[in-house]
Amino acid sequence: MKLLSQKRLYKYCCNATLTLIIGLLSFNLLADPASDKEKFQNFFSKKFPSIEFNEFANGVYAIDPESRAQWKDIEEFPPYVFAIEEGEKLFKTPFITGRTYADCLPDRGIGIAHTYPRFNVRKNQVVTLAQELNTCRQFNREEPLPWGRGDLALILAYLASTSRGKEISITISNAASEDAYNKGKKLYYSRTGQLNISCAHCHVDNAGKRIRADILSPALGQTSHFPVYRARWGEMGTLHRRFAECSELSRAKAFPLQSEEYRNLEYFLSYMGNGIEANGPGARK
């Protein structure tokens, strides 16, 4: 009799704890973006207490002095300077209709890169700056450009250079945009690929640690420097090209560039970096 009641008590306790855990989990999932962001940013300032908030825009170079010294040398004469020049030329070249990119973009495209991606209420989806450029091309009867590299990356490099020093400001204004944000967040924390790891495993939990010869960069501010000149590529590439590379490194099949998945991911990750000064285009190894 006594034994039975103990068992019951145990069972009851167990259930109560379980309910509590599930309750906490669902509470966590339903947390609003603003408090997510605060937790996210606090997490990194606690993990790297000596690093100033804006320095997170520099990724690995903010936390590793040796890599930083090399990178500083490169930044003195950065490999993306030609990209900015060529991008400006392309940006200002008129289409066959006589209009230019500037006619399609808010503020004629200057100093807007840090406010993208935006949630477009009419299209009911996240819209990236790259998409705006190609939509503009199609509107002007021109072929869309490839998403990963080439001319699009050059134009984005020029646009990013006009947003330098401005604080990243991504807005989540309604339920639909919050839904897109949550999808991006889910992807960020979901295990994927043959290695069965999520983005967060490397860039949140293990940020700053070594992965073979490389150091994992902190997730905070990771979108601030795109498009990027990567020594590994030997050319400029877009954020989504880098996303695809990340997917493949976890041995997952990458999503198509500018797919809904990656756009939502960009939306989530950019929102997490709100307040950090944009410093694109960047140079990475």
Binding site: F77, F82, G234
Partner: protein, 100 residues
């Protein structure tokens, strides 16, 4: 003739002039099967006060858009330094900068 293919910065630090250059050039080799004839910068020349201070003979193993830096003695702020390159197809460019 190539245009605006060179970026240069020259600065006097203590006794030495630090020169940094970035040259825009395809530098294609035959290694990747992109082309059957390589195209590369053959010679880069830096002149200061009429005399060569740095000269490089390059081949197709040098990277695309090569970056080059060196230091030399005897230069002063306000003087000029001229860099020029010529590739194996005869294309060429040059630029003069003032030492800062």
């Amino acid at each position: 003739m190539a245009e605006n293919s060179i970026k240069i910065r020259a600065k006097k630090v203590d006794d030495l002039v630090h020169v940094k250059t970035l040259i825009k050039h395809e530098m294609t080799s035959t290694m990747h099967g992109e082309t059957s004839s390589p195209l590369f910068i053959q010679e880069v020349n830096f002149e200061h006060n009429g005399s060569t201070v740095f000269k490089a003979n390059w081949g197709s193993s040098i990277s695309k858009n090569p970056y080059l830096s060196f230091k030399f003695e005897g230069g002063n702020s306000g003087e000029s330094i001229t860099v020029s390159w010529i590739d194996n197809a005869g294309d060429t460019d040059s630029l003069t900068a003032i030492i800062g």
